[in-house]
Symmetry: C2
Subunit: 334 residues, 2 copies
């Protein structure tokens, strides 16, 4: 790899000048600039970004921490962020936290160590206190799908409670009374919030919790299958099941069908997230739209605005909305 020295040699200027034309800071006469550019071209020169960051203390790259690298939800999130960032010539460095504290901490340290100019994180295991402290540090951090009042200007979040409410509410409005609920893992905040929304809708309609079924899932397909199986085994009346995310809903649909039951005639299914494949299922899944792409984009804009001083409008709280497709049946009261 050619270095800045070789370029300055070939161009017959000092390395400071080369540096200047690279970053087009300070004025350089068009004539010498041309010489330098020619030399860079000829040598196939590429600045070493490690050296750049070491010297300048910034890297034009932002660290992204997601829980997993797979799955439609994180896929959309990563895509959204990367696309938005790249449009401003910033790069994303992505790593996974696997929803456990050790890996999340590890990932955060890694990203900070790589001198990312900022971090955008979807973290679930680290504490609010830790994040608040981290936010005082020299690397700006931004949170997605998590709201911490003390640093709410750094959060992009969804009203999960409202989403949970909408889901159950719509089922009730369509005549369902015997509802089952497959929650997310309750140590996760969003899972708790969605459940809270569910309970609010129930309470509002005078349906007591006791007369409903609930199983704790884990947001994965495997967990969804197990939960649905457990629910069915209870042999209790149930005309609809609301799932705390689409992956579980999808798996639930599978086991319902394996039991010879029809969706939505025997059991209606409601999801949450509105991931890409929700509309490709059969029947098409009714769900709650989680505007993760827009939120990912917004988090990148937040970074662009805060760290790189671009003029941008920011929205911190997003609202979910109901998407009615074909997995829910309207019950005619008899």
């Amino acid at each position: 790899m050619a270095t800045i020295y070789q370029v300055s040699d070939l161009a017959g200027v000092s390395l400071a000048t080369v540096s200047r034309v690279m970053n087009n800071k300070a004025k350089v006469s068009e004539k010498t600039a041309a010489k330098v550019r020619a030399a860079m071209e000829q040598l196939g020169y590429r600045p070493n970004s490690m050296a750049q960051s070491l010297a300048s203390n910034r890297s034009n790259s932002v660290g992204i921490l997601v829980s997993e690298l797979h799955g439609p939800f994180y896929g959309s999130m990563m895509s959204a962020i990367e696309t938005q960032l790249r449009a401003s010539s910033k790069h994303a460095i992505i790593t996974a936290g696997h929803s456990n504290e050790k890996d999340e901490l590890d990932g955060i340290e890694f990203l900070i160590g790589r001198s990312c100019d900022a971090l955008i994180m979807h973290v679930e295991a680290v504490s609010d206190e830790y994040l608040i402290e981290l936010s005082q540090g020299s690397t700006p951090i931004f949170l997605i799908n998590r709201h911490i009042p003390e640093i709410s200007d750094k959060c992009i979040s969804l009203n999960n409670e409202s989403g949970g409410y909408l889901a159950t509410k719509s089922l009730i409005e369509q005549g369902h009374k015997d509802l089952a609920y497959i929650s997310g893992p309750l140590w996760k905040e969003d899972a708790r919030e969605r459940l809270a929304g569910h309970k609010r809708a129930l309470a509002e309609s005078g349906i007591s919790l006791e007369q409903t079924l609930m199983v704790e899932g884990d947001f994965t397909e495997t967990g969804g299958s197990e939960a649905m199986t457990e629910l069915l085994n209870k042999k209790l009346p149930m005309t609809a099941v609301v799932c705390a995310n689409d992956e579980m809903a999808c798996a639930a649909m599978g086991v319902i069908r394996e039991q010879g039951l029809n969706i939505p005639d025997d059991i209606s299914v409601m999801g949450f997230d509105n991931v890409t494949f929700a509309s490709y299922l059969y029947p098409k899944l009714s769900t709650i739209d989680y505007p993760i792409y827009a939120m990912g984009q917004m988090s990148a804009r937040l970074v662009l605005k805060t760290v790189y001083k671009k003029e941008l409008e920011i929205e911190h709280l997003f609202e979910p909305k109901l998407i009615e497709r074909h997995s829910v049946k309207k019950i005619i009261p008899q």
Copy 2:
């Protein structure tokens, strides 16, 4: 951030010694090592990886270039690689090439500029020549889903032709004669290979190409919908459609059903890739298994072996296999 100097100060040793205990190279007496560790602890010292790489010319991180950050296929691939790498304390730096030459080149340069110790790439737009030349460079590169004879020791690939053959062959064996094919974008090598396999199966069974339908798709759901619609509009006899990947198969199922047709009674559907959601579709999609997780893992092992000198067994060519589920109907000859 604390630097190595502050640590050496506090511990009362030279910075060389601090460096030694960090990398536990060379022998350091347990006593001084303990002092150093205590100092590091106390200062919350974290080595600056930029400085480390600049000085050592290696970064303990490997660059991953995928076409997209979303989608089940790349999700599995990234997860597989990251998991395997992390088990050896190496980190992945991921970026997207968007299947176009500019972004792929850009991504490669970015990753090399970040002094990745190696690159694992799923590239489609750059030329073989470019890659061969790149492989002579100082950063080792490895290719996934692409076979270039000149550098086959750096390739982890799938026998796509065989996969294409298996798919069509199985349909023919089940009595289908009026086949339609939705290919991938034919400028992509894997799309061409899969199509070649399809043609071989056809030829072998004496079915002429003329009596089959074919439309070029683009591996996306949108493209799959359009292609299937086009196929249906031709109003020609068709008992089965084989799709060059699962995303398109999924979309094709959607439009088939919208036309009031039944799967597999009216039209059988065959996919390719066996992505996670293939088994969650209804009916469950029959497809060709692309062991992308294993291949991603293997590519990481290749890096571990070649670059980091671990003892590992490597397999370069993977074979696809037929997964029979419920989207294909056996036709009883009358």
